[in-house]
Structures are given as C-alpha cells and as structure tokens.
Symmetry: C2
Subunit: 391 residues, 2 copies
C-alpha cells in the first residue's frame, strides 16, 4: 500500500470570532494550508476531502462537508463530513491516509472547523454537551467537566496524583501557548493562578479546563506517487491508529486510563515501527489537565500512575526531553472541537519542518498526535516523521 505524506498544513487563529462564519473560518485555514505547500498546489489537484465537524447549530446540518468545500473552490470533489466528537478531524486525517493508500485518491484535504461561541441557536451549547454519553451521564446531570473530575479524583485516589501537578500542566500549556500567535488564550499563567482559580468541578479549577473556541485547521495528504511534485520536505505519516470504546465512563473497567488511546497508540506505533521512546515531541488531547496525565501513561511515555511525576520532573516542558503540547494544547491554544485533531497535525508539521519559531523543538524528527472523542469513546493517534528521517 502506498505511503501517505503531509505536504501542507495550516489553520486559523483560535478564539472567539463573532463576525466569521464556519465557511469563512475554514477558508482561512484552507488558504494557510495551500500556502504552506512548497511548490504550490491548485484546488483542482485535490481528489477528495474529509471535514471534521460536530455541529454547526442553526446553520447547516446536512451536507455541511460540501457546504464548506464549495466555499474554498473544490468543485465536484467527493467530500464527506466525519464526526467523532472532539476527535472528528483526527479521524479525518486518518481517512485521508486510507483514501491515499486505497489508490482512490492522490491528494486529499483533511480538516475541520467549529464555531462554538456562536449561540444564535438556543440549542447549540446543549448539543456540544451531548457529545458525551447522553442517556446515563448528561441526562443525569453530569457535564464534561464532571466526567473528567471523576477521572481526576480516581487518579488521585489510585496513584496519589496531586492537584498541583494538574496545575503544572496548565502552567506549561500556557507557557507554550504564549509563544503561539494562533492561540486562543495565548498568555502565561502562574502556578498560583492555576491553583487559586475558581473550581469548575472539584478537583478541577478553571485553569484545568480548556476553553470553547472558534477555529479551523486543515492538512493536505499526498501519496508517495505524487509527493515530490509538491515538496522536497514532506512529513511522512508513518503510523495511524484508531479505536473506539464504550461512550460512557460507567462502561469502563477503570477510570484512570483510556483503553481507546492505548489501542490506537499500539496500532500506530506498530505501523510506524517505533515506540514511545522514539517520540521527540507530542500533541496530546488535554481537554482537561488530567487528560494530559492519562495521555502520558496511555501513550507509553511513562508507567501508569507516573504521569504526575513526569510533569513534576519537567520532562514534558519545551526544554524537557519530551515536550508535549508545544502549541499550547487544547488548554491554551484552544479547542474548536472539529478543528482540534487536524490542528495537532498542523503543529507537528511545523515542528518536523523546523518552522515552529520560538517554540521549536530542536532536532525534532518523530512527532505524535493524539486526539480523543468524548471522554475516550474514540481516539486516534498519528506518528509523523520529518523529512530528515526519510532522507
């Protein structure tokens, strides 16, 4: 089967943009993506498109994929909207890999968009909430913050993880995000601020929770047969993995691990022929700071229960051995649901090509992205290799 490469990636700024539409937002990401292709690319070269989006309340529910792609000039191109809650565009990138490997497409657009701050439809905010388990969690009054608070409490009880460690994750995320001009909350925060902020769902404070953002991101994936037309410095998608799980927490054996992440990572590592020890940096799904600790453990960056120590030791800071969420992560860069997974690959693309500016990880050659839907009902992992690995 043919190898797949990222030849371009881009995104909009994340934030609150009341004067933008989902179409204009995605167009910004698309133009940033095509502009990043070294030798340029015509819209007519794109054979297929996958758009991640959970909902665009009050606007377009059906055919929202073609509604987005027609606005960027992709006429006639097979276009599909994918939904896997917050993992929508991580799955879109994976579908692009399948399309390329299938031989049915040579160049595929994978991206996503979400306009979360537009509450013009009175049900919009409600809809985002029902991306978790509806019948037994949401209708019983449990919010997303509540679900992750339960996860945090369980992790603290089982492993002695401390709230201050969650706060250190937040401090790191904001330190990185302050270096990212596209970040929604691109300011630093102190440990005292993170610790002292209002409690959203005990033990999680405001700084342990990501914001709701508007934003879009996109990636262009090309087959090995055409990649050289577009760039001499492609980023190889060496491994992809995905898995689902029971949507509700109550269906899991444990609250302190996401089996979907583990399974997705195993598949991606195996396909790439690498292990967690080979990863130079990672973008992981930190919708809540405790989720980043789970990711450290489930991705194999440390043993179960040792995630808190990893941040204590500074391993995952920008200066550490394994920088995590150099973009600022969901916490500081922001979390426009449908855009997040593609946005992670965008950050990895920049890192692997040495284009990450003040937040560049020196010598980055192998990057990992990790995107979760709901509280672990879906997960998708990509292992990406920089041009020098391939050379």
């Amino acid at each position: 089967m043919r190898d797949a490469y990222v030849i371009g990636a881009g995104g909009s700024q994340y934030g609150a943009f009341p004067t933008e539409s989902y179409r204009s937002m995605f167009r910004t990401a698309f133009e940033s993506t095509t502009a990043s292709v070294d030798n340029g690319i015509d819209a007519g070269d794109i054979d297929e498109a996958f758009i991640g989006m959970i909902s665009i309340g009050g606007r377009q529910l059906g055919l929202s994929g073609p509604a987005v792609t027609e606005h960027v000039g992709l006429h006639g191109v097979p276009t599909t909207r994918l939904e896997n809650a917050c993992a929508a565009s991580g799955y879109a990138v994976r579908q692009a890999v399948q399309a390329v490997r299938s031989g049915m497409a040579d160049v595929v657009l994978a991206g996503g968009v979400e306009m979360m701050t537009d509450l013009s439809s009175d049900t919009t905010r409600y809809w985002f909430g029902v991306s978790g388990e509806t019948e037994w969690e949401r209708m019983a009054g449990t919010t997303f913050s509540g679900v992750y608070a339960q996860i945090a409490s369980a992790h603290m009880a089982e492993y002695g993880t401390e709230r201050e460690q969650l706060s250190k994750i937040a401090v790191k995320s904001h330190a990185n995000g302050a270096l990212n001009p596209d970040a929604h909350l691109g300011f630093e925060c102190s440990l005292e601020q993170a610790e002292g902020a209002g409690v959203v769902a005990d033990p999680l404070t405001l700084y342990h929770c990501c914001p709701t953002s508007d934003g879009a991101a996109a990636v262009l994936v090309a087959s090995e047969d055409v990649v050289e037309q577009y760039t001499d410095t492609p980023v190889r998608i060496a491994g992809v993995g995905a898995a689902s799980d029971g949507v509700g927490l109550f269906q899991r054996d444990s609250y302190t691990s996401l089996p979907a992440t583990k399974q997705a990572a195993e598949t991606a590592y195996e396909m790439a022929g690498v292990g967690p020890e080979d990863v130079d940096f990672a973008e992981v799904h930190d919708c809540f700071s405790i989720a980043e600790i789970l990711a450290y453990e489930d991705l194999g960056f440390c043993e179960p229960g040792e995630g808190g120590q990893l941040i204590e030791d500074g391993v995952t800071t920008l200066e550490g051995d394994l920088p995590v969420n150099t973009s600022g992560g969901l916490k500081s860069k922001g979390h426009p649901i449908g855009a997040t997974g593609a946005g992670q690959v965008y950050e990895a693309f920049k890192q692997l090509r040495g284009d990450a500016g003040d937040r560049q990880v020196e010598g980055a050659q192998v990057g990992l992205t990790h995107n979760v839907g709901g509280s672990g009902g879906a997960a998708v992992v990509h292992v990406l290799e920089g041009p020098e690995v391939d050379a």
Copy 2:
C-alpha cells in the same frame, strides 16, 4: 489494490417505530446482516465501522458512531459517523471500500440509521430540513419539496415531461414495494390515486414525495484476501464513484440534471469497466419522483429529456428490461435518511444472489445503486456484480 466484496447485508423494516431507539433499530439491521453471511461471522472479525446518520435529535450528537456500534458488540473497533445528508450510508459503503483497499481493514461494517418520526426534540424536524441549502433556500422559505418541484417544473418546461409520468413512477414504486415486506408504505397505488392526491408543492402531489421513515440498514464489506472464509457467493463491488456539487440549486448551471450523479456514475462505470448498457437493475434515489427521472438520464439509462418516456415504455418496471427500485425505492420502501444508501446495497445484494423473492430480477448479474445528498450536493454510485460474473 485489493478488491472489495459484500459478504452480508441486512436491514430493519422501514416505518414508524415509536418504541424503538436508534440503537435498537441499528441492532436489528446488524443482526440481519450478520445472519446473511453464509458461513457466519463473529463481531470480533470486524476491523472498522462507518455509520451514516444525519442527526438523532435530542439523543446523542457527538460520538453517535461508537454509541451505535457499542450496542451491537463491536468493542474497540475504529468507528466513524459519516454525514452527507441523505447520501450518508452510501458514502459509508464507499468508505468501507477505501478501508479494505487501503490494507488497513479486512472486514468493514458500513451502515446507517435514522429515527425520523421521533419529534421528542422540538428542533428535530427543523434539523432534517436544513440538510438542503440553509442560507439561501431554507431561510428563504423553500422546503425540500419546493426544491424538487422547481426541478420538476424546469424538466417539464425543457423536455415536455408530464406529471402523469411522475405518477407512473410512483405507481411502479408502490407495485414493487408491495412485494417487499420491509417497506414502509408497502401497498399498491393506482395512477388515479397518484394523480388525484393533494398537491405538496406544485406540480408534485403527495404520491410524488417519499415518506419520512425510521429504519436502519447495514452491509459487511470484506477484502479479497478473506472473502472466501465467509461466503462462496460474494457480491463484488466492481465500481464506486462519488462527487459533490454546490449545495444550493441556485449554484447550478441547470435544474434538469444533477452533475454530482453524472460524475459519480462516470467514476464508478470506469472503475468497473462497464457502462449503463450492462446494468441489469438499479436502486436509484427517488426522494421525489422527478428525481428518479433525473437519475435515469444522469446515469445514462437514456438520453437527457427521455426519462419520462422510459417509464411510459415500461422499461424500468419489474418486468421491463431495466427494473429500477425493485425494493420500492425511497417512495414506497421508505427513506430513513442515514439508512437509505446502505439499504440500496442490501437490495442489490439480494437481487444478485437470487434472494429477492417475488421481486427477483431474473438473471440479474450487474446492479447499480445511486444515493443522493440534499438536492444533489453529494452523490455516490456503486456498481455491484453477482457471484456468477466473478466465477
């Protein structure tokens, strides 16, 4: 790239089922599908799942793919919900083909479900409406029936197509649906009834419009490497094609043809190495009777403008040379949006294996399915070959 085969297909009855949920409905389709696999299949054999669904108002919006598959026992399997309005599960079947051809999966579940008669969420009916073009059609007061009424009026003006020809399509659909125990409206209708029914949107009467239905359908697609484990009578997916188009009618050059259908069909025919003259029967997207006439023309079953004559001549009746919508089609079998595309493949599977009972097309060896999203913003076509073609 590896060939893909349908090894099993099934569906629920279509209709109004107030005591069922989207999960139980899909489970019925899933069990019917696995039961159709000659040598049996374990849920554990399934590597990937694609679920077509537009919305399940008031229930699960995000992660609705995994919410469905967990209920049928697919644990851990990568599962993605696809949306392309009424073409959702036609695209799901196409994604299954990509997954198989990519080498990333050997057995893939593709299906769909919709519960359209449950209006427990006050916005549900509204949401289905915004599957057409929202900003310039729906918000200007144009319904789906209104859009297709404009198409019908244009076809009549350009080609002299008559309303009685639309009625003859409806009579044929109901004659076939009366032979299908799974049909929502499984009764015959006379030409007088179709002509005399109340006008929904001039020139379309009630009998020129499909119903809104609850229902589910599914297909199991396997790679050439494993197909023999499951059946000696597989149905080969010889060709697949898909295309998008401007979502709104006002963006098209013509009202009397769907370019997305034409492009999807060209791709599918080319991949299969066949032409419209080789097709023994077809399931086409007759959301309104005029849409079936457009399909005749866009799929190449006749020249542009001659679709009305095709039904006049009886060519597309069960006894004709090219039976169309032997299942009853969307008009009589029903149209549970997310289920429709997979349901069409289910009918083709039965026809090609000689299992279609009273509505069997004698000697059927090549079948075509045609699924449209919105009023032509998306289309997907499959060319399927029976076991004897392969032998």
